[in-house]
Symmetry: C2
Subunit: 339 residues, 2 copies
DNA sequence: CTATTTTTCGAAAACGTATTCGGAGGTATG
DNA sequence: CATACCTCCGAATACGTTTTCGAAAAATAG
């Protein structure tokens, strides 16, 4: 391993000068800087991240916290895209990324301890139980944090436009002539509350009736409970003409229940998904859903985190809302408006 | 930040003794070790990874190289599961994981340079173009490497049992009475070659006719080309009764083409997928496919990599083949055997 | 030519840790 | 009682880098 010291010896300058030359300091003449850089490159010099980090207490490394109860983790469709976007943008901006876990070297560590141990410059949190004490502790650790799809008041956040998304879907169904729209929503989370609120508000503004039975809970990404919710809706005395699901996987569960009953989509009942995962656009009938721009969200999270890190104490936490895009498929029937 | 030095001052021992006590060295008495540990925990001491890494030149950090031309990267179904398994097992074994990219601090670095810069103890490579010079260079860098679904002779590897998988699928179709089986395979890679070889061999062993036209190329994960390949097969004078696709996404492309022609699955034609992604088991008809145990592969890669790292020069590269599991769905018809 | 400023460089200290090696004190051995 | 042997601890050094501060040399000003 070739070090700065060896370069110094090789070109007859001091360690200090070599370091400064390599870092482009102003107080080293152009020609010596050139000579040093040339020697460094010839000798195959590579800086040592550990030494640099030790000295500067900057690691140029971001920690990523991705967990979820279902242990889908990295395989989660939506969040794997977020991670993907985050990774690419962070790399462009000069940061590496590592995962934060609650184990270090085989021993139990809190997330915060892990982050301190590795000296992460910043942290992105997504897909976790935000009520978890360990997560809250991390948010309040003083290390710059950006959260995805959740807001803490002392750190930046990137949010999918859930309010706009649900509004757009409901409005779309309305324009297609639907007046009885139901919402199978996910379990109680901040995202769900936003969506439900938007759903209710949009219905009200459009003058739609919204019986309580049209709001049915299910579990995100779980076809099973979505099927049960669908059954409940279909057996209503006045069933909806259109059902909005919390995600595209739940949609599949609903679809199966619908077809099991001999009903057809969209002939007998219209349906809409959420997320816009790849397969949603491959199957027939093509799914009407709302694509969340998860890659973009990840990129913005990286940019926001760099801002938080580099602006230091002067940083004002940003709330970035990323709009989605309605993918018009073939699962919502055009109805003649009743009466 | 509380350091070893502060603990030393606080309990009246030397820095050396504190370090040794915290690392469980033998030459410190039980009671002083206890006193030191207690003080450390009370003061909220955390080791400094950078200092430790600098001193020991061990980072307890694994580098992960995940890239692919389609830029699916982390969102790739199969590989996101591999990463997931790898991550969990590596964390259990005491290692953190970071991504390797070809940029460091905003400048261009080769993968090898990046790995050296961060002083990764080991590296796992998956989902890359293995002919890429930069990848080959990394493999030969001297840093312990484990590859997934590819074999280099100087490093360990974890392989999905593609030979067994294809054999099982073809044999299954044969048992269901099929005698004309076609294989839509992915583009030319090591995995593809193994699969094609297994396909041909199995057909031969079963005494099946295998006209050249029954081997049709497509692109992995691309419904489009799979659809074209399917069309080609269906228009054959003697079309197959069963088609095997290279993955579940391609399967969907094939299915669409089949249904577009007014044919039904499995009434008119039988189909099989590969991978066993989650949605394959949600749709109707439920897909007959081969689930690759990608999570397990990731875990085994982590274990193998730890072995490579900790056994040092004495390490003998392992070839671990992970069997998949046939998921019997409803897409392969039971045929009466002709003649 | 002197005085002042600017440019260019290096010595030294520091970041937090691990490790080697020797010494002090005690205990067993003869 | 002398010797050998453990047990336990600390001083010192090193890992590779950045940064401060002062000094020497060169350039400019007066």
């Amino acid at each position: 391993m070739v070090t700065i010291k060896m370069i110094a010896k090789s070109c007859g300058f001091s360690v200090a000068t070599v370091s400064k030359a390599l870092n482009g300091a102003a107080d080293v003449s152009a020609e010596t800087a050139e000579r040093i850089r040339k020697a460094a490159s010839e000798m195959g010099y590579l800086p040592n991240a550990a030494a640099r980090s030790l000295k500067t207490s900057r690691s140029y490394n971001f920690g990523v916290l991705f967990e979820d109860d279902a242990n889908l983790g990295l395989t989660h469709r939506f969040f794997s895209h977020i991670l993907n976007g985050f990774k690419h943008r962070a790399e462009e901006l000069g940061y590496d990324i590592s995962f934060i876990s609650d184990r270090v070297g085989g021993a139990d560590f809190s997330y915060t301890e892990h982050a301190r141990y590795r000296n992460f410059d910043g942290i992105v949190i997504a897909s976790v139980d935000y009520t978890d004490h360990a997560v809250v502790d991390l948010v309040n650790s003083g290390i710059p944090v950006v959260t995805v799809d959740y807001v803490f008041d002392n750190c930046g956040s990137v949010l999918s436009d859930n309010v706009g998304g649900v509004r757009d879907l409901v409005t779309y169904a309305y324009r297609m002539g639907h007046r009885r729209i139901a919402f199978v929503h996910g379990e109680d989370t901040a995202v769900t509350r936003h969506r439900v609120a938007s759903f209710c508000r949009t219905c009200r503004e459009l003058g739609l009736e919204q019986p309580e039975e049209y709001l049915v809970p299910a579990i995100y990404m779980d076809p099973q409970t979505a099927g049960v919710a669908t059954a409940k809706l279909l057996e209503l005395p006045k069933p909806p003409s259109c059902i909005l699901y919390p995600d595209d996987i739940s949609y599949i569960g609903g679809m199966n229940e619908i077809e099991r009953r001999g009903l057809s989509i969209p002939g007998d009942i219209s349906v809409m998904g959420y997320d816009g995962i790849d397969v949603s656009q491959m199957f027939h009938p093509k799914m009407t859903t709302l694509r969340q721009d998860a890659d973009r969200m990840g990129e913005l999270a990286a940019e926001e985190l760099v801002k938080a890190v580099e602006e230091g104490r002067g940083y004002i936490p940003g709330r970035i809302v990323v709009p989605g895009k309605l993918l018009e498929g073939e699962t919502v029937a055009k109805l003649k408006v009743e009466s």
